[in-house]
Amino acid sequence: MANLPFIAAVDEGIHQEMKRDPRVLYFGQNLATTENHAFVAAYGHDRVRVTPISETAEIGIAIGAAMAGMRPVVELYMAEFMLVAMDQVVNEANRFRYMSGGQVKVPLVLKAGFGFTAGWAGQHTGSLSSLFMGVPGLKVVVPSTAADAKGLMATAIRDDNPVVFLHHYLLTLEHGEVPDGEHVVPFGKAVVRRAGGDVTIVATGWMVHRALAAAEQLASQGISAEVIDPRTLAPLDLETIFSSIEKTGHVVLVDQGTRHASVSAIIASEIAEHRFSSLKGPIIQVTARDTTVPYSEPLEAYVIPDEQRISSAVIKLLKR
C-alpha cells in the first residue's frame, strides 16, 4: 500500500496497463510535450502523443485506432470538452460494434474530470454522468477513492468497450491507500462505504464523501446510515442498493447533477419499480438545484448538495 493522491493513482492505473500491454495508447492536449514527460520517457512517442485542441478528431482517432486493434486512452481533462465531440462519444464509439453485427470491438477510455465546483463557473463544473449512463454501448465509471481510481482505470483499459472515466476534480489531491502492484476493480460492483441499518444513502464521486460526512453527523443523533457507492453507473449494481433498502426501508439518493433526468432519478425509478414494497417512505433525491453553477462562492455552495442538506433530508424522511 502507498498513500497517494487520487490523480497519481489514476496515473498508476494507466502506467500499470501501458506496461503490460503494448497496445495501450495515451494521448490528448497539453500532454507529452517534452521528452521528460513520464509517459513519453517510459513508452515513447509511438504510444504517447500530444494533440491540438481537436476533440472530435481526438476521440474519432481513438475509435479508429481501437477498431484497428489498439487500446487508446484519451486525456480530455474536462468532461465538458467531450460535449464538443458528442457525436463521437454517443453516436460513433458506442455504435460500431452493434452496427457491424459484432465484427469490431472499440476498446477505448475517455478520461475526463468533472464537477470542478471551485469557482469555475458555468461551463467547467457540470456533473454530466447522466448524459452517458443510458447510452447503449458505453460504460461509465465514477471513482471516489484513490484505490478505486487506479483499479477502475485499469479495468477500463482492459474492457473491450468504450468507457467514459469521470474523475471528480475536487478529489484530485485527496490522498488514499492504494494497493501496490497490479490492482483492478471490477465494473458493476457497488461498495458499501459505511454500514448502517436505518437509511440507505447512495452517492458517487465527491458526493460519497459528503454522504459519509452526513452519516457521521447522523450517527451522533442516533441514526445509522448505510452509504453505498455504485462506482460504475453503467453497468449499475442495483442489487447492492436493493439489498440495502430491504434492510433499511428508507433511501436518499445524492447527486451533484441537476435534478431532472439525473442519475438519481434513474436509480429512483428502478427502486420504485422493483422495491416499492420494501419502502417505508418516499424515495428522496438530494441533488444540485436546477440551475447553471454560479461563479460566486456562497451561491455555488448553495446550489451543490452538502452534508447539511443530506442529513436534513434523512431526518425529515425518518421523521426524527
Binding site: 485506432a65 460513433e92 452493434y98 457491424s100 473491450d160 468497450n161
Partner: protein
Amino acid sequence: MSTKAPDAERQIWMLSQMLRIREFETRVKQTFTEHPGAIRGHTHLADGAEASIVGSLAHFRTGDAALATYRCHGYPLVLGSDPKALMAEIYGRADGICKGLGGSMHLTDVKRGFLGTSGIVGAGIPHAAGAAWAAQIKKKQEVVLSFFGDGASKQGAFHETLNIASLWKLPVVFVMENNGYNVVTTSAQEDANAAAGRPLAVKAQSYEMPGITVDGTDPLAVAQVVGEAIERARTGGGPTLVESKVYRLSAHGNIIAPPGVPLHYPEHEAITVFGRREEYEAALRGDPVPRFRGLLVQNGTLTPAKAEALAGQIADEMAAAVSFAIKSPFPKNESALEYNYA
C-alpha cells in the same frame, strides 16, 4: 514515386468491378418496385462513382483498411465481400453481413479490411486516421483509405483530422468523392473554394499535404493518382487529399417518407430542384461504366463477346444476391440485444 499501371488483366478486373457495383446498385434500386417494402429507411447509391471507387482500391493490399460513409455499397463489393450478404444486410435479414443490425448505411466487412462506415457526415474521417495511427505503430507499411463526399469537407472533423494526419505523417489517403452536390445544395452554395472557382483539393494546402484533383470518371487516372498517394503513405510520406470528381447518377437517396408510403428513387436533384436537365443528361452521356467498357473493347483489351459474357455473368451474380436476400429469414428478436457490448 513508382506506381505500376494496371495491366490488361487488371484493367479487365477493374471493368468487372465497375460493372458489379453498377449491377448491384441497379438491383437495389429495382427492389423498390420488385419487392416493395423489402428495403426500409434510406439507401444511397454509388452509381456514377464506380470508376472512382475501383480506381482508388486498385492498389489496395491485404492488411490495408478502408472506411467510408453511408454511401457504402461499392467498396466491399470490390474488396471481395459476398454480394449475397451485402444485399441481405440491405434487406435487414439474418444472413446480412452485419446480421441485419446495420443496414444499407453501415456495411462493414472487417475480414476484408472494410473497417466501418459512419452515417454522420465527416464523422468517419478521424476513424480512418486512428486506424492509420495503428498502422504506423505496427510498421508493416499498411495504409488506410478514407472515403467521404465533398459535403464532409465542411465539417470540423475533416479539418481537425487533416491537420493531425499531416502533423503525425499518418499513412492515410483521404479520397473526397466530389459529386458537386451536398444532397440538394451545390458546392458553390456552400464551399468558399468552389464559389471562388477553385478545386476543393486546395484545402490540402492548409494542412501541408498534397492535394490533387482527378477525373473520377476515369478509373485509370484515379488508380494512378490514388496509387501514388498510397505509395507515399506506405513509404512514410504522410497523407494526401485526393479530390475525385464524379457525378452521382441517382438522386441523393430514395425518398424520405413515413411507413406506408412506398419508397422510390426520384430523379436527380439537378432536374427536380434546379431544372438543369441538360447537366444531368451530359453526365449520363459521360457515364463511366459504358465508357470504360467501350474503351477496353475499342483498344482490343476485351472482345465484344467477352464483354457481353462478363456483363451477363455479373447480372446473374446480382440476381442471385437478390433471390438469396429476399429468402433469407429475419433475425431473431434476441439478436437485437446481442452486440451492444463486447
